[in-house]
Amino acid sequence: MKTFLMATAAAALCATSAMADVKVGMITTLSGGGAGLGIDVRDGFMLAIAQSGRDDIEVVIEDDQRKPDIAVQLSDKMIQSERVDIMTGIIWSNLAMAVVPAAVNQNVFYLSPNAGPSALAGRGCHQNYFNVAWQNDNLHEAAGAYANEAAYKNSFIMAPNYPAGQDALTGYKRMYGGALAGEVFTKLGQTDYAAEIAQIRASGADSVYFFLPGGMGISFLKQYADSGVDIPVVGPAFSFDQGILQAVGDAAMGVINTSQWNKDIDNPTNAAFVETFQAEYGRLPSLYASQGFDTANLLVSALEKADPSDADAFRDALRAADFDSTRGDFAFGPNHHPVQTIYAREVIQEGDVFTNKIVGVALENHSDAYAADCKM
């Protein structure tokens, strides 16, 4: 309710500042299932814009309802009638694939705060496309690397049967050196995992790796905890972010997950981000919020150096990534995706609140498997 009012107020403020010099179009998911992710990205992004103190940046925010067709309509409207210079905000890879290639070919810059499909990292990379979060495979590769470190020899791996799910298992297997006790594709949106848990029990695995974003992960973890199977679980941060953990509760305690960000990464930018985000919105930030925050700060840093109308200079300014990231030092690889350290986190409880703490490094200065294919 409170965030809703603030969003309305923010939108109203933006609408009235007609004098803005730079126009940013944000298309993100603000309603329906998965709205929590878009709201976090938006709130993190707007917090950074507000803290920059610049009143010449106008942000137009629209809700894609997680539907590709609506995202395409919104993007057309933003490019053709709103005439935005920069676009951002998309959460889901299938929506990004529908919007980004067309947008960057119309000379709009696109800064991705989340989705990082492999198609845009390799052969399909573009000079106007920058990903501030990660390439989709990254956190899964980190989980595979962690499994080696933890000396797991026989993993049971599981993901929904759709492109990002298949990429997830590919990413895990790319780094993981052990054998597979089982490999299962679930249905996208599946809510009951009794059948899979029975297979895990019978498989003789020594570890379970799963990628089940959003509500799917909540269901799986609760059911897994209740099943009496006690094989250790590893996952990417998506099933253990701040928005979801409270709904999972005790069932997530102690689980190791991989993330490029956590609230205890020790640098002044991150400490200030966590504190001001909490003061502004009354909740702890998630990794999505940190990605939105970093995206906006990257944008502001580039605007300090060049105007988007001078595309080459602005692109160079973005590529330099000369801003204070919540992740510490931030650098882009040749395909405009981050080269970054990915951590292993453990779910802990602080008072009544479930959250994560960093317990180790899974992959240091990691790029992605597609960078070599990118010719820009």
């Binding site: 309710m1 965030t3 809703f4 309603s31 329906g32 299932g33 709205a35 929590g36 709201i39 049967n161 298949q166 597979l180 490999e183 299962v184 594709f185 679930t186 249905k187 949106g189 809510t191 009951d192 009794a194 059948a195 029975a198 297979q199 029990r201 019978a202 959003g214 509500g215 799917m216 909540i218 269901s219 609760k222 059911q223 209740d226 099943s227 009496g228 928005g243 979801i244 409270q246 709904a247 999972v248 509760g249 005790d250 069932a251």
Partner: protein, 306 residues
Amino acid sequence: MSTILVIEQILNGLQFGVMLFLMAAGLTLIFGVMGLINLAHGSLYMVGAFSAAAVAGLTGSFFLGLIAALAAAALAGALIEMVVIRRLYKAAHLDQVLATFALILIFSEGTRWIFGSFPLFLDIPDMLSGPVTLPGGIQYPLYRLTLIVIGLVVAIGLWALIERTRLGIQIRAGENDREMIAALGVDISKLYTIVFALGAALAGLAGGLVGAIQSVQVGMGEPVLILAFVVIVIGGIGSIRGAFIGALLVGLTDTLGGVFLPELFKLFMETGAAQKSGSAIASMGIYILMGIVLVWRPTGLFGARA
């Protein structure tokens, strides 16, 4: 593949089936008695889950939460029947679909407005948590066994209500000839409100029960709604017995198909590809079942009307 695993998967299928029955029973009752297609039935399931999570969170008692789920869903059902649905009985099915679809949007955004966009927490009560060991050494979660028992008890209760009580006689009469029972002095609009609230309460109960093992979030009702429609089409629209048999068939087909088809494909494919194609075909399983049933019996297994 061991016998234990097979038995465990059959139990999983049964548990899924009886929960589907709770959803499908209300849906089929409402269609049978009032001739109304209620797309908002999934929203009532969501109302149940959210009420259970909110009350359980406040009081710390799962059982109070379940009572709240029943009450809130029944209340919401009675309310939308009196305010919206009542105007639709004479309307075409397309108008009903449009209006009840609007209700889905109103319920979803209304719930988000009250509870926010992040999923709520609802957990299994301590006394029902953890696995129990069944004869034969099968470890099975106690809560899922409880769900099977509750589902069967509700099914028997519903059968007794329809077959053995005065209200049941009126409901059955209403299905056959609504003008005639109105002429006999039964307050038909009150009967409709009661039937609608009863259907809603069953959906709310399912929402509260299932919410404890799944995620309580906006939009959780729609995937279940689609399955419930498949169930009532298979069982025969308007038939409670059909809904029961249909729900068990769908539950078992979906669960066992998802496990055994990939295993079957592994016999002649390599593992990764077998998983991918096996699970893709398994997810079509219930629709293939529906197709076969409809070819064999166009009105469903126990459907009376054409």
